[in-house]
Each structure stands twice: as C-alpha cells, then as structure tokens.
Amino acid sequence: MLNTLKDIVRKSSIHVCLVNTGGCNGCDIEVVALLSPRYDLEQYGIYVHNNPREADVILVTGAVTDQWLENLRRIYTKAPEPKVVVAIGNCPLTGDVFNQEGGSVYAPVSDFIPVDAEISGCPPRPSEILEAILSVVPGAIALKGRQNK
C-alpha cells in the first residue's frame, strides 16, 4: 500500500538537475526551450533544479573534461536515491566533435556513472528530450525505489 503510494508520487513529480560537463551549451539551450510555454515542461510534473541534492534525475550534457572527472562522480553521489541519469545529446555518448585525436575529453559518460537513458542528436529536438525523459524516467525511478527497499 505504502509502496504503491510512493510509486505514484515518484512517477508524478520528477525533479531534474542539469549538469553540463563541458559541451557547447547547445543541448542546454534545448532544455531551456522545454521550459518555455510552447513545451511547458512542468505540466508533466518535471521540475528543473540546479542542486543535485534536490534532484531524482541528473541530465548530463557535454563530454567529460578533465576538471569534471571527479566532480561528476561527486554530483552523482550527492543525488538522493532512487536516482536516474539521462545523457542528452551526442557528447556524453561518444564525445562528438570534441573527441578529436589528442583531445582531452573522456567520453562516454557511462564510463564514470551509470546511465539509464540516452538521447542522440546534436542537439536533440526538445520533443525528443521530453519523450525520452517521460518514457524512461518514471518507470526507472519507481523500479529503483522498490529495489532499494
């Protein structure tokens, strides 16, 4: 009974923290577009924070640079359980244009923290981001919440 109640609450309010680990900012702009009245992110119960302690979902944009190696792990540990990581754009997946020979980015992000959902595109359309978050995250959070019991 308590568990189903928790499931409902977890599914209907998703708190998101946006982390740019060294990208070009394009994906962040697409996320900002999601906040606009046209897409209206909050009607789906998704709230954006800049604090990992308040967030259930970490949105990672950008390839991992030297400075972010440790900080990314720290941010991940600070998010409360159950937590889900979504990689937005190509940078966290392959490093994209930054992954040149002799470059110093450490892609993919999944080498450092577990990633639950991936959205490809450079940048992905806002609707694609929304679709991915809504189709993966509520279920994953509820599932993880039960496992951790």
């Binding site: 046209r38 392959t94 490809s120 609707s127």
Partner: protein, 354 residues
C-alpha cells in the same frame, strides 16, 4: 479590494473551469517540421567508396566506410555507415557526395546546384524595370537561348547565360532602359564620376551671378560641350566605350544638389561641423569654419542645421544630348528651387502669442 473581487468573479465562471481542465499542448510540438534536417540516409548501391563524406565530417566517430565480405561471385560492396550517436546532422556528407544520385541524403541543401558560366565577363547588362516598356525587342535581338527571359510581365537578363555581346543594348528603343555595367577599373570609374560632377558644379558656380539674379518667371538654361570632359576622362581611363557609358549614366537625366556657401553670413557657431556626415566642414581657430567641396556628399544636412543661412542648396537638372561630334550637356534650373538669398526684413510682423 476591487481586484480581488474581479479575480473571484473570473474564477467563478464556467468557461474558466473548462479552460483550466481542458488545457493541453498543441500536437505539432512532437512533430518534426518538413524542413528539419534529420540524420543522413545512406543508399548503399550508389556508393563509389571515395571517402569524401568521412573527410568532410566534423565529428571523428560519425561516419565509417565499411566493406562487405568478398564472395566467390562478387567483390564486397563499400558503403558508409553513420553512427547516430556521434552525427551532428550538419549535412556536409550529403553536400560533398559526388555520386549522382547521391549516396547520402540529408536535408535539402545538397540538392541545390549552383549555376555558373565558363565565360569570364567584364560587362554586365541590366534592365531597368522602371524604364522598360516591355517591347521585347531585346528578346528578339538576343542570340542566346534563355539569356533574356520574361517572367510575370517583367523582362530580365540572366547573367549566368548572357555572353555580353551587346545586341540587346543596340535594339533597345528607350534610352537608359538597358544598361551596361563595367566590372573592372572600379577606382578609375569613381574618379571619372567625381571629375564629371565637380566639373558640372564648377560650370554652375561660374554662372552664380546670373543664377542669383534670375527672375522668378524665367528658366535658367545653359549648355556645356561634352568634348573637354570626354577628353579628360579618357586621360584617366583610355577605354572609350566605358567612359561614354559612365558619362551618360552620370549626366543623363540627372538631378544634382548644388550646395552654396555664403561665408559672409557665418558667425562661427560651429553647429554644422558636428552634423556633417563626411567631416567636410572643419573648424580651426585661425581660419574659422571651412567647407571642403571635394569631400562634400551633397546631403544638405548643413543647410538644415545652419541657423544663419550660410549653407543653401538648389537643384539643377541635366540632360545629355549625345551626338557623335558635338555632344553637349544641357543644364536647366527653376528659380523656385533656388535658396532665399535676400535678408529677411527685420520688422516682419510676427504672430502674436496669446
């Protein structure tokens, strides 16, 4: 208080409740528009394995050329494979792909082909739509198919097909409707234009006394021989056709503002110095306010700024009478366009303020 009541009234209405419960996003937010350039599509069978797409791709891991295994009958096929996790959808691969039809399709940009001519042209021919009478004589005279076209009742010359033979210019019955524009020697062209205009201004300045005393009901007329101007222009640039074209374009049916400068009225207030857009009016404590006519743009801003009537302007009209040997420039001037030169009577009855 009243606003609270207004809010309560607003919320109590049925239509508000309907709107509140029935709010939803438009469906088109989840649809990609047609113009959206999505991930490239590969059509394996056209690939020639040149590797242009991999060289053009800005992302190092996005495209790989793959080769199928050879079998006893056939050599394996080479084709590009696109990694959507690294592709940035820029469409460069589709643009550089040399095969026809394209092996890689991405968006619409790569379908646009630029037209070009192999003939380097020094002269462009342009039709002035304002003067064109649509007689289509140029269309008949043109020896190249498609160089002159008619679209929406407008005749235009397509520069990519034109071979600059000049037949159209000869056939055109309207003066100035079809123009020849010369591409090289731009600086010399500017020099000639400046020279001609300053010559015309000089000619008018010489007649200043006559213009000043022009009766209100008369028209000022004068003629200027073309020969000396022509000769001086040829010294700058020895291309007769070009010089003739330029002089015709500069003088024929031209209106020119002539700026007059009455230094005796100047009180050295220096209002005009800042206003002049080209800085042709300067001030120094020794010589006072000075105007440099060579730099002047003839914008007449100084005329609008000066409170003492130092700067004035009038408009002169020019017409070219183009005969082979004794061509001349005809200048006309209406007295109504002349600046007021008489001093304003001091005891002018002013409107009384109430």
């Amino acid at each position: 208080m009243s606003s609270v009541i207004w809010y309560l009234y607003e919320f109590a209405q049925k239509s508000w409740a309907e709107k509140f419960t029935g709010a939803k996003s438009e469906h088109d937010i989840v649809e990609k528009p047609d113009r959206f350039r999505d991930f490239p599509v590969v059509l394996k069978e056209y690939c020639i394995g040149c590797g242009a797409c991999t060289a053009a791709c800005p992302s190092p891991t996005a495209i790989k050329l793959v080769r199928d295994k050879d079998t006893s009958e056939k050599v394996g096929r080479v084709y590009p494979v696109i990694n959507n996790r690294a592709c940035i959808r820029c469409g460069f691969c589709a643009e550089v792909c040399p095969t026809d039809p394209k092996t890689i399709e991405c968006g619409e940009n790569h379908l646009i082909r630029e037209e070009f001519t192999i003939l380097p042209v020094e002269k462009h021919y342009v039709i002035d739509d304002y003067l064109c009478i649509r007689c289509k004589k140029c269309l008949k005279a043109c020896c190249v198919e498609g160089a002159i076209k008619e679209e929406d009742n407008r005749i235009s010359i397509d520069p990519s097909n034109c071979i600059s033979c000049g037949d159209c210019l000869e056939s055109c019955p309207v003066k100035g409707a079809l123009k020849r524009i010369h591409m090289p020697h731009l600086d010399e062209q500017k020099e000639i234009i400046n020279m001609v205009v300053s010559r015309l201004e000089k000619a008018l300045e010489d007649k200043e006394e006559e213009i000043r005393n022009l009766p209100r009901d008369k028209l000022f007329k004068m003629e200027l021989p073309l020969k000396p101007i022509m000769d001086d222009s040829l010294k700058i640039l020895s291309d007769e056709e070009l010089v003739q074209d330029i002089i015709e374009r500069v003088t024929d049916r031209m209106k020119l503002r002539i700026i007059t400068w009455d230094e005796s009225k100047c009180t050295q207030c220096r209002l005009c110095v800042k206003e002049c857009p080209l800085g042709s009016i300067t001030y120094s404590p020794d010589s006072g306010v000075k105007r440099d006519p060579d730099k002047c743009l003839r914008c007449s801003t100084c005329y609008q700024t000066c409170p003492f009537g130092v700067a004035g302007y009038f408009v002169a009209k020019f017409l070219l009478d183009d005969q082979k040997d004794d061509g001349k420039i005809m200048i006309t001037l209406k007295p109504s366009l002349l600046p007021i030169t008489e001093p304003i009577p001091e005891n002018l009855p002013l409107q009384e303020s109430k």
